[in-house]
């Protein structure tokens, strides 16, 4: 279970970092989303994994720590809002610049490349 969880988080973060380093804003947004999934899972696992009960019920003595769950919920909400905001900015940038390169400078180059493609 531990190995599965740890490697799951690792794969999510690795994919996220890879995508985030790409130069197109859509890939960056996807990468950040994957990374925040990984981080949320990590936060969740901080409360230790194991079979303790989360909800108060009769005859149960060991409960799982509720705080990491609260932290994870907060992190999900904030991450979601921030991703939405980033998407809006990236979209506005794309509409205005006609390119989703993160530096917004490759417009001329791309239209030049398209021009060449049409000529061929």
């Amino acid at each position: 279970m531990e190995i599965l969880l740890a490697s799951g988080i690792g794969v999510l973060i690795a994919c996220g970092v890879f995508l985030m380093l790409r130069s197109r804003s859509f890939d960056v947004v996807l990468g950040l989303t994957l990374m925040s999934y990984g981080v949320n899972l990590f936060l969740f696992s901080v409360g230790r994994i194991g079979g303790a009960a989360p909800i108060i019920s009769d005859g149960v003595v060991r409960y799982t720590d509720p705080l990491p769950q609260a932290l994870t919920l907060t992190a999900i909400v904030i991450g979601f809002a921030m991703t939405a905001l980033l998407l809006a900015v990236a979209l506005a940038d794309y509409v205005a610049e006609r390119t989703d390169h993160v530096d917004g400078q490759r417009g001329e180059q791309r239209s030049a490349a398209q021009g060449r493609g049409e000529a061929e």
Binding site: M20, S25, V28, L32, M35, S36, V39, F42, L43, V46, L67, P68, L71, T74, A75, I78, G79, A81, M82, T83, L85, L86, V89, A90, A92, D93, A96, E97, V102, D103, G104
Partner: protein
């Protein structure tokens, strides 16, 4: 008194919500609400400052839960000092934004208030995760403030700024998770008590978490390898917004002081901060020199001002990494925030007065009211470069005296002085180009005037700088006591843990 602690967060939040609802109201009504909320903020900051100056720290248990279960707000000299600074810069920036027309943008006032709420919350909270939440609040508002002008250059800079800070937030979450996993708490007061209780197996994890936290705070404070976003972002922001942003890097510095000097620094003898703190002044020195070089290379005055914010962050980091350097750093923080914000506003007045050339450092027809504006520029430049008799000199001399009182730190003073010299050269070059290389006006072209709002805002900030000089003695005493109070292991900080909830109505205590 206790409930007043929540006011610096609650009042701007309520005002922001009201301003969002008031989208149909006239600009005058929105201005009125914005000004009223910001002035109230400043008034409460003054009251809290007067209270904390006596050395009493106040604790507010939010939601009436004891500390390990609930989150406490803490008012001590450090948070009161930063709150007062926030209120003052907030009023000046708002004045500039209203006079300059930027505040007419639909949700400017709401975003501005949200920004104040986030900054105030970050200064007051006594919990690591709550610090994260308030960081997000102030960042979300800063994204909005940066973006509303909608110019192309701003949008590009904003995208980088947002992405960079989102990654920083994720690192913050990882660090907070690790610390909770090891210590079982995120409250600063309780974290300060875990020194010696951390097992040898957990220590590397704790050190990794602290390094991650330091990275996050360095992003906020714009320390060198992580501060490259700052000049582009601040240079692209509107002047009143940039003036407010001069405060945001200080939130990062504040976090370093509160969390590292105050909480982790005291986990002796095995605190990783002992190793980290010896490296931080060097990072600060590099940041300072980089910022000063950036100022020398700037093509326009706003870029120069943004690079100088970087340089001041470097100077502050040198102070925070020294045992006993916190006092100098906090005095310099107040000075550099006021001076940096004033420079942004003066740059705006110059930009509006020069027409097509804007604030590019090229010879052009002189600005209107050149005597007044040039005089203000001169005063700000003297303050920032750290020449006597203004507050920059006092701050830097405190810092250098502190550097020489430690073995092996004396050569950092060379970095401080070199940074000051480079800043001085950059500012004198900019000033002589802007005011002395004035070309005659083309026939038919009239002298331009503008930026009245920025002028008033800059005037207010200069008044603040002057107050720091006039009251330098009491201010130095205050920051000295502040530095002693930061240590979270002292008895009155531990009192947070013993603070009992109030008895509730209708129930036996």
């Amino acid at each position: 008194m206790n409930l007043l602690l929540a006011a610096p967060v609650v009042i701007p939040i309520v005002a922001a919500a009201a301003l969002v609802v008031m989208r149909g109201a006239s600009a005058t009504a929105r201005h009125a609400v914005g000004i009223a909320a910001t002035l109230t903020f400043l008034a409460i900051a003054v009251v809290l400052f007067a209270h904390a100056a006596d050395g009493r720290s106040e604790v507010l248990l939010v939601g009436n839960w004891r500390v390990p279960f609930g989150i406490a707000l803490l008012l001590d000299r450090l948070s009161a000092w930063m709150l007062l600074l926030t209120g003052f810069v907030g009023v000046a920036a708002l004045l500039a934004a209203i006079g300059g027309g930027q505040a007419r943008a639909l949700h400017f006032h709401a975003l501005f208030q949200a920004q104040l709420a986030g900054v105030a919350g970050a200064f007051l909270t006594n919990d690591l995760f709550n610090l994260f939440v308030f960081f997000e609040v102030l960042l979300a508002a800063s994204y909005g403030l940066l973006l509303y002008s909608g110019e192309r250059q701003t949008r590009g800079a904003s995208l980088h700024y947002i992405i960079f800070n989102l990654v920083g937030s994720l690192l913050f979450l990882i660090a907070a998770g690790l610390i909770y996993g090891i210590a079982g708490t995120l409250s600063f007061a309780e974290l300060a008590t875990i020194g010696g209780k951390v097992s040898a197996d957990d220590m590397p994890m704790l050190q990794a978490a602290m390094l991650l936290l330091l990275v996050v705070f360095s992003i906020k404070a714009a320390a060198l390898p992580l501060g490259l976003w700052l000049p582009a972002t601040y240079g692209a922001a509107d002047a009143p917004v940039a003036a407010l942003f001069a405060l945001l890097t200080k939130v990062g510095i504040y976090a370093v002081v509160r969390v590292f000097v105050g909480v982790f620094g005291t986990m002796a003898p095995d605190s990783p901060w002992i190793y980290l703190s010896s490296a931080i002044p060097w990072v600060g020195a590099l940041t300072l020199l980089f910022g000063a070089l950036g100022a020398l290379a700037a093509h326009h005055l706003r870029g120069l001002a943004a690079s100088l914010v970087l340089a001041s962050a470097g100077t502050l980091l040198i102070g925070t990494g020294l045992p006993g350097g916190v006092a100098a750093a906090m005095y310099y923080a107040a000075h550099s925030t006021l001076a940096g914000a004033a420079l942004f506003l003066v740059a705006d007045v110059i930009r509006r007065g020069r027409g097509r050339v804007e604030d590019r450092l090229e010879p052009a027809p002189a600005v209107g009211r050149a005597g007044l504006i040039g005089g203000m520029f001169f005063v700000v430049a003297v303050a920032i470069a750290g020449l006597p008799p203004l507050s920059g000199f006092i701050g830097k001399s405190m810092l250098i005296a502190e550097l020489f009182s430690h073995d092996g730190r004396g050569h950092l003073a060379a970095a401080v002085l070199l940074g000051s010299l480079t800043t001085l050269i950059a500012l004198s070059r900019a000033g002589s180009t802007l005011f002395w290389h004035a070309e005659p006006h083309a026939p038919g072209e009239h002298v331009r005037r503008g930026g009245r709002g920025s002028l008033y805002g800059a005037g207010m900030l200069l008044g603040g700088l002057l107050a720091l000089v006039v009251a330098a003695g009491p201010a130095q005493r205050y920051v000295g006591q502040l530095a002693e109070q930061v240590d979270a292991t002292r008895a009155d900080a531990r009192a947070i843990l013993d603070t009992q909830p109030r008895p509730q109505y209708g129930r036996q205590p």
